[in-house]
């Protein structure tokens, strides 16, 4: 065997090894993006479940604030029906601002603010809001890694051959970022 043969063979082996590594890396990133998205979904769903409870808790003290209750409930229904990443993000912004209004209403009722059931719901909501934010942070980080791998050469060739598509970031407008401020325990 000539030296050239061995060199070519070596290069082929290296190429195949790289292909396997690069392909597996793309699969790993794609799975993490999916995992991140399902985590966001879990948290959003938890927030949807909280909304009726929160509405009925506030309703007991402030029955006449019907407009606020309706807008939150409407936003929730819309968010649950959203299909695209961008559509979901828009609908969630509406839910967040609706919840803010609801909590602003609650501010005016000292009895409500002292209700232990309401306080527990409020902690649940604050916790869920921040979990949504953290899930979004994780998801966007994974999307960034996947998209970088898909767009940069030479893994871009592999990505287009095996149909790895770039994913959308889950963007929430600045005003809706971070947990809703419901901290009035003074701590």
């Amino acid at each position: 065997m000539s030296a050239a043969f061995w060199i070519v063979l070596g290069l082929v082996v290296l190429l195949v090894a790289w292909l396997i590594w690069a392909f597996n890396r793309l699969v790993k990133y794609r799975n993490r993006v999916d995992e991140g998205w399902s985590q966001i979904d879990v948290q959003l769903r938890r927030r949807y479940d909280l909304i009726p409870n929160l509405v009925s808790a506030v309703q007991g003290y402030a029955a006449h604030e019907r407009e606020t209750f309706e807008s939150v409930t409407r936003a929730r229904a819309q968010a649950e029906g959203a299909s695209s990443v961008a559509g979901q993000a828009d609908a969630e912004n509406a839910v967040t601002s609706g919840l803010r209004q609801l909590l602003a209403v609650a501010e005016n009722y000292p009895d409500l603010k002292a209700n232990t059931n309401f306080l527990a719901l409020q902690e649940e909501l604050t916790g869920t809001e921040s979990k949504i934010a953290y899930a979004r942070q994780y998801y966007n980080e994974q999307v960034r890694m996947l998209n970088t791998a898909i767009q940069s050469f030479p893994s871009s060739v592999l990505a287009s051959t095996f149909h790895f598509g770039a994913r959308e970031f889950f963007d929430i407008e600045d005003a809706a970022r971070g947990p809703v401020q419901v901290d009035f325990k003074g701590s």
């Binding site: 993490r32 995992e35 991140g36 985590q39 948290q43 527990a120 902690e123 649940e124 604050t126 916790g127 869920t128 921040s130 979990k131 934010a133 953290y134 899930a135 942070q137 994780y138 980080e141 994974q142 901290d183 701590s187």
Partner: protein, 303 residues
């Protein structure tokens, strides 16, 4: 984040390998004078492996029991549970088990061999004095230790270094009571005997220095990892002022820590102390598991 974890995993194995090697060397030195050469190494390495495997499996339970930490449910501590779960999501790891320690000094630690088997414990004092963002800062720091497998490194290295200390102590005692091949060899009085005597002296010095050197290396690794965990924790919470104000509160907290002892000192958020107040002399710095709290605050402020 995940790439960093993979790198840390490799570093962990390297460190473990070095620790076992270190213990093996001590065992060899002992064996050279005390037993027939290779038996010492074998005993030392087996001891190191058994001990590190034991602490690998049961270290977290031992630490939790020694601090009297109690497991709490989400119903008992909703705020703490929400924060831990949220940050675990951000880090992309399973939620650690949550414990509360009945102590009034504000402090916290994380333990467990890997992110799948991890626990976070905070003192009652921490829950009472910190607001939500401060608590998030603290939990972010602890979760970074989980991500980096610092706990595993700390526990196992401590155990292995401990084995070296134990062996050199046993050796010193046996030698003192009159055993040892070195002594018998040196009684010959010719050049071979003189050489054996020199080797013997070197061995003794090595045995005295080794545990101390091992301890100092462990401490400096521990201090550097604290800065890293501060930085990584802030990367998770995206809010440095939270951790800064938590550290400021801890720096001025007047309560002493009852569960404080040297064996677990490196695990805590800040070095637990029986006497409250900042340690500042350079000697104290060298023997500290944590960097001075003011230095940590300064670094966070510069980020």
């Amino acid at each position: 984040m995940h790439e960093e974890i993979a790198r840390n995993k490799r570093k962990t194995f390297l460190l473990l390998f070095l620790a076992v090697l270190f213990t093996g060397l001590i065992g060899y030195v002992i064996g050279y004078f005390f037993l027939s050469g290779s038996a010492g190494v074998v005993i030392a390495v087996i001891l190191a492996i058994v001990l590190s495997f034991g602490s690998f499996l049961y270290g977290d339970k031992m630490v939790l029991a020694s601090t009297r930490a109690k497991k709490v449910t989400p119903q008992q501590e909703p705020r703490l549970h929400n924060i831990v779960e949220g940050l675990a999501i951000a880090a992309g790891i399973p939620k650690p088990t949550v414990y509360v320690i009945p102590e009034m000094a504000p402090n916290a630690f994380a333990t467990g061999r890997d992110p799948e088997h991890s626990s976070i414990a905070v003192t009652q004092g921490l829950l009472d004095t910190m607001n939500r963002v401060e608590l998030e800062g603290v939990i972010g720091h602890e979760l970074s230790h989980v991500l980096d497998r610092d706990i595993l490194v700390g526990t196992v290295v401590a155990t292995v270094v401990g084995a070296a200390v134990l062996m050199s102590e046993i050796f010193m005692r046996s030698w003192f009571w009159g055993g040892g091949r070195g002594r018998r060899d040196s009684s010959g009085g010719d050049t071979a005997g003189a050489l054996a005597l020199v080797l013997f002296a070197v061995g003794i010095v090595l045995l005295i220095i080794a545990p101390l050197a091992g301890q100092l290396i462990k401490l400096s690794v521990s201090r550097n990892r604290e800065y890293l965990a501060d930085a990584q924790g802030v990367l998770l919470t995206r809010y440095p002022p939270g951790l800064i104000s938590a550290l400021e509160k801890i720096a001025v907290a007047p309560q002493a820590m009852h569960a404080a002892n040297n064996a677990t000192a490196h695990l805590w958020l800040n070095q637990p102390s029986r006497i409250p107040g900042e340690q500042t002399s350079s000697m104290e710095k060298m023997f500290s598991t944590h960097p001075p709290i003011q230095d940590r605050i300064k670094r966070l402020q510069e980020m």
